[in-house]
């Protein structure tokens, strides 16, 4: 980050000319701005703050048409050491996640892992509709160094089809990142405000799976991903084996504080899911102390990795 000039220094250097311009300005409301030196804010060097924390990004993707280079570029820029990545097929017309399809996805991840050894933590994608092939795929992927699973909206996480997969992951002591949605307005999951994706897992699905498998590790995907995070946190509160990652494009101001209050500092994970700036900005701007930030940026996910011996350092 040597290429960045520190904002505070820059401000010091430009303070005089700025004052000059402002004094000569004609804004009625701003006269006297330069007189009250005490009114000037303290300096805050955001990049210094960003670089202070080690980070594992718990939710990111590679795509056939996007090179992993861009991910690494953003990660370098924002001081992210490791990225948990997967490649997925969202359910939809003309898009079926058959064994051939999910294998191709995972090959993409394996390729990225090979290209940037030490940076990517692979997550296998599968479709439990294909039970046998899914279990085989888990073996193939984990054997080549993947550290967990990512599942999308083909089947809800509490569907019995998933049980063998969950049991396998329990054996492996690995986390399952599950796409999630909580698309209600108000009024629960009523059809008119319900999910656009009927098979996407909703908070109650996580609660049921977590209750059935208290020894499994679930990751509720992208709390900032367009869900009602207040509702989601309220539901997940009582299920200590459900973690939530803070990725997503909606960096709403109070989400992290709210999640902290309901889920506690040990169950929240830093993530981006394509929203690199938001993933970090939302954590930095929350009312967390340094120790809590450290946990969310790094330690919490590393502790999960430790269970399967895949921890960093």
């Amino acid at each position: 980050m040597a290429n960045l000039i520190n904002r505070r220094n820059f401000f010091k250097k430009t303070a005089l000319p700025v004052t000059g311009i402002m004094m000569g300005s004609s804004i009625s409301g701003l006269s006297g701005c330069q007189r009250s030196g005490a009114a000037m804010p303290a300096s805050y060097d955001i990049m210094e703050e960003v670089m202070k924390y080690r980070k594992i990004n718990s939710h990111e993707h590679v795509w056939p048409d996007v090179s992993p280079d861009a991910l690494i570029d953003f990660s370098d820029r924002l001081g992210v050491e490791k990225l948990a990545i997967s490649s997925i097929i969202p359910a939809g017309p003309g898009r079926e996640a058959n064994p051939q399809g999910f294998r191709a996805c995972n090959d993409l991840v394996l390729k990225a892992m090979k290209k940037y050894p030490g940076r990517f933590l692979g997550q296998a994608f599968l479709n439990p509709v294909y039970g046998k092939e899914s279990l085989e795929e888990i073996k193939r992927c984990i054997d080549q160094g993947m550290i967990g699973l990512k599942i999308y909206n083909q089947v809800k996480i509490n569907d019995p089809l998933f049980y063998p997969v969950i049991e396998k992951l329990i054996d492996l002591k690995m986390v399952m990142l599950v796409h999630a949605h909580c698309g209600l307005g108000v009024g629960g999951y009523r059809p008119r405000y319900g999910n656009v994706q009927p098979n996407a897992s909703i908070p109650e699905d996580f609660a049921m799976a977590a209750k059935r498998y208290p020894e499994a590790i679930f990751q509720y995907a992208h709390l900032h991903g367009g869900s009602d995070w207040e509702y989601a946190c309220r539901v997940l509160k009582d299920y200590p084996n459900v973690y939530a990652d803070l990725s997503g494009s909606n960096n709403e101001a109070n989400t992290v504080n709210f999640a902290l209050k309901h889920l506690g500092e040990d169950r929240l994970l830093f993530g981006s899911d394509g929203s690199y700036y938001q993933g970090i900005g939302t954590i930095l701007s929350s009312d967390l102390n340094d120790a809590q930030r450290k946990k969310i940026f790094f330690d919490n996910f590393n502790n999960i990795l430790r269970k399967s011996g895949n921890n960093v350092d």
């Binding site: 307005g185 108000v186 009024g187 629960g188 009523r190 405000y193 908070p203 009602d228 207040e230 509702y231 309220r234 539901v235 509160k237």
Partner: protein, 261 residues
Amino acid sequence: MLIDINANTGHWPFRQTSCNSCRQLVARMDESGTDLSVVSNMNGIFYKNTQAANEELNEELKSDRSFNNRLIPFAIINPVYAGWKDDLDTCLNKMGIKGIRLYPLYHDYDLTDPSCVELVRYARDKGLIVALTLRMVDSRSRSWMDITAEWNLRDVIPIMKEVPDARYFILNIAGDIRLSQADTDLMIKSDTLMDTSGRSTSGLGNLISTYGAGKFAFGTHTPILDYLTGLLRIESLSERVADETIKDLLRAGNARRILGI
């Protein structure tokens, strides 16, 4: 003694209101001689997570000792939202609420939705009053972003049938107040107070002869409606319709009985 069973604090989104904090409310109470007000926080009508509004009210009430002696908090609960039972327990055990207010039209569920029936039974078991507001504002002059639906009096009957032994407040009685004879009898048998803020209570004398003086109590619906019309409906009753004893019931007696104070 004078008790207002229908006061609100908080922000009404669609129009500036001038008396919506506890401090302003208590000043208004002092000015008009109101000893106690039942209050909840209107933000809970619009927040998806209504508990945030209950917390705001509780904090405001704790911010000044004098509020404790003057304001009786009710919580706003949404029985289709996650965690409502935790919320209700917290409101009851830590915030000292005496009742709850439900806003099915704003929270978009039916009054007889199983979750709502469960909530009303739970409230009954906990000794809490259940308050239903027939409308917040006249739908004719509402904002286009506000809801269009209003209730008539008969619309609250289904929940009273489901849970006849709960205690109810029915607030801001507007619209059609006609009930069938069977529903009238149900209302008479129930432990219900209707407040005097609503426009359909202008014939209070008639209403008293139908339902009895024990069914009504002073209410303002402040800060949406003016502070005094509800009182005027009581105080201007002629001696022939309501003597001082009856007026005292309407001013405070009925409210004290049902609130247990």
